[in-house]
């Protein structure tokens, strides 16, 4: 048993150390794999705010991941083809700049989360799961049929987008940017969980009627949590598309929503570092077993089953059991 704070810092330090070692050994593939861990962790950290703090079992977070991906894809597509994007009276030249793409991804997915949240938060339990799943499928089929942006084949981007002052073609620099974003989001999540908003949201998850009885609206608290959550997962989607230099409808698929959920549950629902641990385990299994058998996900399933049956707090819960309250 160790203190949660040390575990959190340790996991992040380990990730960073592995990437730097890989850089020294000139293993750029390993750096790319570690970058994937970081980006999936970021996407799951987004989900963790809705799921872990708000208790919102969303099976539609691929919507935000995909929107972030397509925000990147569409902006870069117009920039690389020198074909401005016509939006009624508005003409956008497209962009190859990461900060611009990120802000767009965040804005678009936050807006989508607001609309989806308003419609689905009226329900709860299985109905909430089903509605979020249905939204995911809507976006998936829409993207498949959107021929202008590649339809089923998706969109390829020739070269990775840029970040002012850095060379994003260098794997370790791109890793560094993603890692920094992850750390900032985790810091924000940590503060959020302890803030007045987090206190109220935490109670709204457990006993909504108590929150109402002190004069607050559980609905609004959960809606904002859902929006923040969607925005973070959207940002991760933009980075993921940049990692692969490719977006396709699979980013909207319900399997992806399920995978994000698996990452959070593996690591530990509502635990700050849970998504990072979950993503690391997931990618490690994929890399280690994926080469040996096409059915590596069966082993993932076995591990998930063991976690759900014997360790409800996930891997983080096993290593650092949760205390009460926090000062």
């Amino acid at each position: 048993m160790i203190r949660e704070r040390y575990l959190n810092l340790g996991v992040l330090a380990l990730l960073l150390a592995l990437a730097l070692l890989a850089r020294l050994a000139d293993q750029s593939f390993t750096i790319t794999v570690l970058t994937k861990v970081v980006i999936l962790a970021l996407a799951a950290a987004g989900l963790n705010i809705a799921l872990g703090l708000g208790g919102l079992v969303s099976l539609g977070h691929a919507v935000f991941f995909g929107l972030g991906g397509y925000a990147m894809g569409i902006l870069a597509f117009h920039a690389q083809n020198f074909a401005p994007l016509e939006l009624g009276p508005l003409t956008i030249a497209g962009s190859k700049s990461m900060p611009v793409i990120w802000l767009t991804a965040i804005a678009v997915s936050a807006l989508a989360a607001l609309v989806i949240g308003l419609l689905s938060l009226r329900t709860s339990g299985v109905y909430f799961i089903m509605i979020t799943l249905a939204f995911g499928q809507m976006f998936y089929y829409f993207s498949i049929s959107w021929a202008a942006y590649g339809g089923e084949d998706g969109l390829s981007i020739y070269i990775r987008n840029g970040f002012p002052g850095l060379n994003m073609l260098d794997p370790i620099q791109f890793f560094g940017i993603c890692f920094a974003v992850l750390c900032l989001v985790l810091l924000f999540s940590d503060r959020l969980a302890r803030s007045p908003f987090g206190l109220a949201l935490n109670a709204a998850r457990q006993v909504p009627v108590r929150v109402e009885t002190v004069g607050l609206s559980p609905m609004r608290l959960k809606l904002l949590a859902f929006v923040i959550s969607g925005a973070i997962t959207g940002l991760a989607g933009a980075l993921y598309a940049d990692l692969n230099r490719f977006v396709s409808p699979t980013m909207f698929s319900w399997q992806l929503s399920g995978e994000l959920m698996v990452l959070v549950i593996l690591g530990g629902v509502g635990r700050l570092i849970g998504p990072v641990v979950g993503a690391a385990i997931f990618v490690a299994l994929e890399q280690l077993l994926g080469g040996l058998t096409a059915f590596w996900q069966i082993w993932l399933g076995v591990i998930l089953l063991l976690i759900v049956l014997f360790a409800r707090g996930g891997v983080v819960g096993l290593i650092a059991p949760k205390g009460v309250g926090h000062d």
């Binding site: 503060r191 959020l192 302890r194 803030s195 007045p196 908003f197 987090g198 206190l199 109220a200 935490n202 109670a203 457990q206 006993v207 009627v209 108590r210 929150v211 109402e212 009885t213 002190v214 004069g215 607050l216 609206s217 608290l221 904002l224 009460v324 309250g325 926090h326 000062d327």
Partner: protein, 249 residues
């Protein structure tokens, strides 16, 4: 007569064929404890829910501080001045005792949209929460997990959360239930003093507490108020003895 703080007018509520509230008109005046007694299933909690906004009446109205709040929800009525405790504790069990009280203080502050500074570092929230925990005798248990509190301590915490709201009227659904003789006596003494801060509508089965505290008592049977009066009147009423006190006397 002074203006009542809270008043219901002709509240009616049916669940299918069951009339859980049948034309209930009661009021709560400044400085008083008004007890509602009645057998199990009489409709006491149903009345409380309609007063606090968790249930919409089929007809009738609820006025709080002279304003009709019948159309408003739980949160709006709490902000308007209701401080309510639940018959079955509704607390965040995973959280600490202090966090539950701080939630009340946060509701009272009306400023939940703060995302960066830890709630525990907010001296105002903390002072208000700790003060109300101290008043109900939970000061030594502030950092305990709420799920680990005894049944009686949870009742105390319910009262503490209501205190953080500085309500204009307290609505308490069986606060003594399961407290034991000593706990009941302590809470009785506490409520006795509390009425000076805000009047209390008290649903309670503990007749010793009711007769010790109540300025007025209403007797609810099958959704109807069959009598309202002073403790002495109610004790003397033959109809009440037959309908309710009979078994106990």
């Amino acid at each position: 007569m002074t203006e009542p703080v809270l008043a219901t007018h002709d509240l009616t509520k049916s669940f299918g064929a069951l009339r859980a509230s049948d034309g209930i008109s009661i009021d709560l005046r400044p400085g008083e404890i008004h007890a509602i007694i009645g057998p199990n299933g009489a409709g006491k909690s149903t009345l409380i829910h309609q007063i606090c906004g968790g249930l919409r009446p089929d007809s009738g109205s609820v006025r709080l501080l002279g304003r009709d709040v019948t159309a408003e929800g739980i949160a709006a009525r709490s902000r308007a001045g209701l401080g309510r405790t639940f018959q079955i504790s509704a607390l965040a069990m995973e959280d600490s005792v202090l966090q539950n009280a701080m939630l009340g203080a946060l509701g009272h502050s009306g400023r939940p949209w703060r995302f960066w500074r830890p709630a525990h570092a907010d001296a105002d929230l903390r002072a208000r929460a700790e003060d109300s925990l101290r008043r109900v005798g939970l000061a030594d248990h502030m950092h305990m997990r709420t799920a680990n509190l005894s049944h009686g301590q949870r009742r105390q915490l319910e009262v503490a959360v209501a205190l953080t709201l500085d309500p204009k009227a307290f609505i308490m659904d069986e606060p003594m239930a399961g407290l034991g003789a000593e706990g009941s006596a302590l809470l009785t003494r506490f409520l006795d003093g509390l009425r000076a801060e805000a009047p209390i509508l008290l649903v309670e089965h503990d007749m010793d507490a009711v007769f010790a505290l109540a300025d007025r008592i209403s007797v609810l049977v099958y959704g109807r108020v069959i009598a309202t009066g002073s403790a002495r009147d109610i004790r003397a009423s033959a109809e009440v003895r037959e309908a309710y006190l009979g078994e106990e006397a």
